[in-house]
Amino acid sequence: MPRLLTLTLNGRARSDAVADNLLLLDYLREKLGLTGTKTGCDGGECGACTVLIDDRPVLSCLTLAASCEGRRIDTVEALSADGKLNAVQRGFHEKLGAQCGYCTPGLVMASEGLLRRDPDPDEAAIREALASNICRCTGYVKIIEAVRHAARLRAEAAAP
């Protein structure tokens, strides 16, 4: 049964007719063509599909689009502005936090969620915040460096 879904996606209000059984993941990828968010597994085990809802990381593969009425959703597509990578994206790029890149959008969004909540996390907090995301390539060490680098870049950008 379709319903009208109204939400704020990547900073812009929009309304779409969605079926009750449409996953947020499929709404983003198939209906809107926002394929930055990845499908990695069949059930909540990998984190590749992570997006932010009201600034908190959520698995879009287990969330219904219809449950997101009135919420604010950010996907990896929201991060760059005017063709420039944001701090987290630059962190991953400059510290080699991505190899094949499949897990990267999910890890970037989980990291973005962490830094919005805690701008200066220590290593333990970074490890804890990324513990729902699996990466088969990097061995995670570079990812942790990437998030620390991102925190510094954000702090520099905020400094007068």
Binding site: D42, G43, R56, V58, A129, S132
Partner: protein, 335 residues
């Protein structure tokens, strides 16, 4: 695009609307965070025609000090439970259990109600449709036999793996239910009926493991602060994240001078129900010494029955449960 089976979603805002939706659709699936139910729908294990979302019911999202204890609503999330400073101070075991579940993103999504009613698990059950079809569906879904215990005569041994239930049970928590006949309250331990007895004398099993009456839902849980009790939770898993327990143990104890004055121990990840160990009063009246721990080993051996429903062998999970229980009693005794 993955085609999920057709279903309609109801989004009640109040307990009255929730009750009305449930009454109108007694077979509906209750949707908390969906971290268990949506996985099972995606794998074709269940296909409810209606889902009723519980997270929008504001009155069930609260964690509140009430009289001499705490009341936690069914829609409170795991991260809210883990990070609630007052709750953690009074009942560290509950916060530790919440903090140990899955990974941080699942804890932002998952709810108390979903965790308490978490479906039982088995390597022959938590699989995709094609995997299960290729290996013959077992009796927890549409088949006729149990692959774990082929001679089980209709009994399922799928394992209960929720972490909050043992932590709350060890503290003597009560659960409040709402159904067509109104509200009732019972010991949380009594919610779990998965005894899985071959002789047919027990009540439920791994397939029929919750003592909810038709149309009943979990509203909230209540833990009393009985004064002077310490609590803790410990769990072993193959990885430290995104993983169900090999075994999990909750202990609540009361120390008076050099003697144990109260002891509750509950175990998850082993049986088709979380097991509140019977007979722990045998350890009371003295310090937990070698004789006491030998007694504890006996209780675990007699009551913890882990079958080969996970990739770790049953006997190993039982030993892990025993070791965790002993360590946790020692830790809490010496706080």
């Amino acid at each position: 695009m993955e085609a999920l089976p057709e279903f309609a979603l109801a989004r009640p805002r109040t307990i009255a609307e929730l009750a009305a939706a449930r009454a109108a659709h007694p077979d509906a699936g209750l949707l908390g965070g969906g971290t268990d139910l949506m996985v099972n729908i995606r794998r074709g294990i269940v296909a409810p025609k209606v889902l009723i979302e519980t997270k929008g019911v504001a009155a069930l999202r609260t964690i509140a000090a009430a009289e001499s204890g705490f009341e936690i609503g069914a829609s409170a999330t795991l991260v809210e439970i883990a990070e609630h400073a007052e709750l953690r101070r009074h009942f560290p075991g509950v916060a530790e259990a919440a903090q140990s579940i899955a990974g941080p993103t699942q804890r932002i999504m998952g709810t108390l109600g979903g965790n308490l009613c978490l479906d039982t698990r088995c390597i022959y059950y938590n699989q995709s449709q094609w995997w299960r079809a290729a290996n013959d569906h077992c009796l927890k879904t549409t088949g006729t036999m149990c692959h774990v215990a082929p001679k089980s005569r209709g009994v399922c041994f799928a394992t209960y793996s929720g972490d909050l239930a043992p932590a709350l049970m060890a503290l003597g928590a009560k659960v409040e239910l709402l159904g067509p006949a109104g509200q009732r309250r019972l010991d949380l331990a009594a919610l779990y009926i998965g005894e899985s007895r071959h002789d047919g004398k027990g009540k439920g099993d791994g397939k029929n493991f919750l003592g909810l009456l038709p149309g009943e839902i979990v509203l909230r849980v209540r833990v009393e602060d009985r004064g002077g009790w310490r609590s803790g939770y410990d769990k072993m898993r193959i990885r430290r994240s995104i993983e169900y327990p090999v075994a999990g143990v909750a202990v609540a104890l009361k120390r008076e001078g050099d003697a144990l004055a109260g002891l509750g121990i509950a175990v998850t990840g082993t049986n088709p129900r979380p097991v509140l160990l019977e007979g722990t009063e045998a350890l009371l009246g003295r310090a937990p010494d070698a004789a006491g721990f030998a007694k504890l080993d006996d209780l675990v051996r007699d009551q913890i029955m882990a079958m080969k429903t996970t990739f770790t062998q049953g006997f190993y999970r039982r030993r892990v449960a025993g070791v965790l229980a002993r360590r946790l009693v020692e830790r809490l005794w010496n706080i």
